[in-house]
């Protein structure tokens, strides 16, 4: 269970403090798939980064499984079971896909173990396992590898920051399948997805709407989702593809 208590965060904007997150209180129980949506610039990604420890709140506290982790480092939070998929995956020179998955798993991995994770994000493992995680990979490939590293973590709380950003339509459909499988196979873990894609909102157990740094609404997806349809908080992937979009 993750709990945010009165969390605020601001950045320096030309000498002035600009509030990005304002006194947020929220709970993410175990075994839930929670999607955070809201308009662009509303503070969704910042919220995810605060939970992962990449940013530190000015005020408030973050409690994870009963422990106050507000002052803990990114590493410590990762070791406690928080995984984070970046909106824009990081590129490396020399580090290959296998290295990254092995580090993510935190144990000795066979190539076939690593391949399992790659296959589940729709990448042919044989073609990718030795590839460097560098600019030779496309945005979509990097994004899928990023998601594979989170799967390899097998974390208590997996956070995905706009997983659909930069991904092609075909991959997007598969992504929904990945989240569904994660949801089914890891019943005691929670998944937190930052996204305003309608298709992702549709698979949520719970939806949190964040706007102007505050929680605007929060509740069971079945209750919150209908009010979001047609707004910037629930966007269609591709208007043309949507009517015939089949689930994978």
């Amino acid at each position: 269970m993750l709990e945010l208590k009165n969390v605020s965060f601001s950045v320096d904007d030309a000498g002035q403090g600009k509030e990005i997150i304002r006194n947020i209180d929220l709970k993410i129980p175990d075994g839930r798939l929670v999607v955070v949506t809201g308009p662009n610039g509303g503070g969704k990604s910042t919220l995810a980064r605060l939970i992962a420890g990449i940013e530190t709140p000015d005020e408030g506290s973050i409690i994870f499984n009963g422990r106050d982790i507000t002052a803990e480092s990114v590493t410590e939070r990762a070791r406690m079971g928080i995984a984070f998929a970046f909106q824009q995956p990081v590129r490396f020179k020399g580090i290959n896909v296998f290295d990254l998955i092995r580090i993510a798993a935190g144990r000795q991995l066979s190539v076939s173990d690593a391949c399992e994770y790659l296959s589940s994000v729709g990448l042919c493992a044989r073609d990718y396992i030795e590839r460097e995680v560098n600019a030779s990979l496309s945005g979509g490939e990097l994004k899928r590898i990023e998601i594979a590293t989170v799967l390899a973590r097998g974390a208590k709380l997996s956070i995905f920051d706009e997983p659909e950003a930069g991904i092609d339509l075909w991959s997007f459909r598969n992504l929904i399948g990945v989240f569904r499988r994660m949801r089914e196979t890891t019943k005691d873990s929670s998944i937190l997805i930052i996204s305003h894609q309608e298709r992702i909102l549709q698979i949520a157990d719970e939806i949190i709407v964040i706007s102007e740094g505050r929680v605007k609404s929060q509740g069971e997806a079945s209750k919150v989702f209908p009010g979001l349809v047609g707004t910037a908080s629930a966007q269609k992937t591709c208007p043309k593809a949507e009517p015939c979009g089949t689930e994978v």
Partner: protein, 308 residues
Amino acid sequence: MLGLNDIQQRILREVADLHTVPVGAYNIRANGRSVGRQSTENIEIIPKTDVSGLEIRIKPGTRNESVHIPVVLSESGLSEVVYNDFYIGEGADVVIVAGCGIDNCGTHDSRHDGIHRFFVGANAKVKYVEKHYGSGTGSGKRILNPVTEVYLEQGGYAEMEMVQIEGVDDTERTTKAELASGAKLIVRERLMTHGSQRAISAYKVALNGEGSSADVVSRSVAKDDSYQKFDATLYGNSVCRGHSECDSIIMDNGRILAVPALEANCVDAELVHEAAIGKIAGEQITKLMTLGLTEKEAEEQIINGFLR
């Protein structure tokens, strides 16, 4: 092995990955003298009579054979210049493993200058692996100044992997290559300096023949107060393609000067150079920290990958 002591055997493992006497042709040099040598039917190793060094003659058509010529210095204050010439016969395909390790526990400087010349015959192929390494706690410096000259005849191919990761206090590496038509040169250099070490690496590659090509890539890391200079010039003297790249990470007070240069003397020469120097990107460290590594572990992982 061959009467070598523990330190010498450790250095041999570091520079040439040798745990036992190698298969094929070899010459193992320790503290200024040969402690083991073997020629094969196709590869002849002949000691020079005028200067210190070897002549290595590889018969035309020799395939899938290797030559190991590692050098170990474990006596403080030893200084030597060694001239090794490799004649790789037409159509041969061989691997040459060199490498030099110095262990200096004394107060005097130890120095090895290896002058290697490669005469690569028509359509011959050679892979050259050279690893330099230093160890020891003495105040005496460990100095290596390798000179490598490569002469590629028509259709010749040379792939050179040159690595210096640890413990060499001062180095001036000079590499010169001349390529005839259709010849190809690939260089992969890896350098890491720390403490107050200094490393200079200079390349002069002349693409003389029609259709010749060269790809010179150096990756380096300068830590602490160390200094590096990468100075590579490609000369396009014909219809040719040349690419040089220097990609460096600086840390602490490390300093790097990259001087990539191109000289096109033919209108059909295609030459490209790239040079980049910078510290480790913060987001790379953050990403690895989100996977559970500490900042220091993340840094090591990034550098190990970069210098792989």
